[in-house]
């Protein structure tokens, strides 16, 4: 789950890290009032879940409250990468002595969170790491023991930072590491972390992402502290009708799992496939052999006939889909006969001939003999494990190309 900058700043603030006196506004009038309260030059920043705000004109500077209101009005109307902002953040223009970077990410190899710090802030940390590795400090934290201030201090000191700056930056990084762990974050970044002319440190921009699996246990932060609605899931893109329909069919019945995606797919071969790894392998195999998938899907966990039927029907009703390929890696829990019933029923309910519509049926494993009997009755050829996933995909592609030629 991704957060807007104003929310990420709130999270930082809740963890006891100093921030500037910023305000989140949804109208130009509100922006004027916040700028008046600030009483000096301000920065107006678009609140949108995409990068490249500066380039797109989503960040503007203002000297007066009137100017702030004007910029706010413009930015509130400005779409960035196709997304409308939810508001603007009005921030005092800070008197900066130096910019730093403070961040915490997961290190999957070490299986621990990794603290990162650089005295070259304000730019992309990956770029700094590549060009100036000596300016990046790193240190893992334990998942079991409390995070000690000294651990943060070691990371910062490794970049050569010393004196009172070291002592002031240390609690910021330590608190960031604690909030990362406490809030199930995937990413917690303050960039830039600014040292102001008076020597104090403040978070000028923050970037946070929470693991979706943890959303259920972070209700206090999400609902109470940040006021984010339950249905506001912050997906990367707007789900298609196909995706919504498949999701609804899946949710209506607890037996088994079906998933369907068609974002980025626009071909004529419908895929009714599974399970996780099998679907990835099969989608590649179809494409490598010149096939054009109309969608991606996954069947798993032994779904009901109605569920398998529902998925197949949704795939068959997509624009341009002529045939479906029903293929899975060897199943041990999902039953071959149940999936066979589901896909044949989908054809019949849409008044299509299963023998013509099902380009291939390749699911070996549990109840395969029963499945073969059902398919045989409807004139659909059954392929067992002697037909590889690659060959199954190839046969499906050949059939559809033969049909449309």
């Amino acid at each position: 789950m991704r957060f807007y900058e104003y929310e990420a700043r709130k999270i930082v603030e809740l963890a006891g890290i100093p921030v500037t006196k910023y305000g989140f506004c949804q109208t130009a009038d509100e922006a004027r009032k916040v700028a008046e309260d600030i009483g000096g030059p301000t920065v107006i920043k678009s609140q949108v879940l995409t990068g490249g705000r500066m380039k797109a004109g989503g960040v503007q500077f203002a000297d007066t409250p009137e100017e702030a209101a004007e910029h706010a009005a413009d930015i509130l109307e400005l779409e960035i990468n196709g997304l409308e902002p939810v508001g603007v953040l009005v921030d005092p223009k800070a008197e900066i002595k130096q910019e730093y970077y403070a961040g915490v990410v997961w290190d999957g190899t070490a299986k621990k969170p990794l603290m990162l710090f650089s005295d070259m802030g304000g730019i992309d940390i990956e770029q700094v790491a590549e060009e100036h590795p000596e300016h990046v400090g790193r240190g893992h934290i334990s998942n079991l023991l409390p995070v000690g201030d000294f651990e943060a201090k070691q990371v910062i000191a490794a970049t050569g930072v010393t004196g009172s700056r070291l002592n002031r930056a240390t609690p910021v990084l330590a608190k960031l590491a604690r909030l990362f762990r406490d809030n199930d974050m995937l990413l917690a970044e303050i960039n830039p972390l600014a040292e102001l002319t008076d020597g104090t440190f403040v978070a000028l921009d923050a970037h946070m992402e929470m693991e979706d699996e943890a959303v259920g246990r972070q209700k206090k932060l999400l609902r109470k502290d940040l006021g984010i609605a339950e249905d506001d899931t912050r997906d990367n893109y707007v789900p298609s009708r196909f995706e919504k329909n498949v999701k609804a069919i899946d949710a209506a019945d607890h037996r088994g799992v079906i998933q369907g995606k068609d974002h980025g797919f626009s071909g004529n071969l419908g895929l009714v496939i599974g399970a996780g790894g099998g679907s990835l392998t099969l989608t590649d195999a179809v494409r490598s052999q010149g096939g054009k998938p109309a969608n991606y899907s996954e069947i798993g966990g032994n779904p009901s006939v109605a569920k398998a039927c529902g998925l197949a029907k949704e795939v068959l009703q997509k624009d341009g889909v002529e045939k479906i390929a029903v293929m899975m890696s060897i199943v041990s829990n999902t039953r071959v006969d149940i999936v066979a019933r589901g896909v044949i029923k989908a054809c019949l309910e849409l008044e299509k001939d299963p023998a013509e519509t099902i380009a291939i049926f390749r699911i070996p494993g549990a109840w395969e003999d029963e499945g073969a009997k059902i398919l045989d009755h409807y004139g659909v050829e059954y392929c067992d494990r002697t037909v590889s996933l690659w060959d199954a995909a190839g046969r499906a592609v050949a059939k559809i190309q033969g049909a449309s030629a």
């Binding site: 009901s304 006939v305 109605a306 029907k313 009703q317 019933r341 008044e351 009755h377």
Partner: protein, 79 residues
Amino acid sequence: MSAPKSLESVFIDVRIAEPAASDVELAKTLEEVCPVSIFKATDSGSEIVSGQLDECVLCNLCIEAAPDGAVTIVKKYEQ
């Protein structure tokens, strides 16, 4: 999009012979043992929920719960 038609019992048929079909106690047992809710117990005995027939998982629990030969499962695709 117009709703496509919905078919009942394409693959499976379940029959209960008399007098078992009118046995109110047996009806309750059948309703309980079937994992996919094909049987419904009523005041006059067992009723078949036709919309559920195709969900039959061939577990035979209904056949075992009823007197010999009282319940038959027909696989239509074998006919």
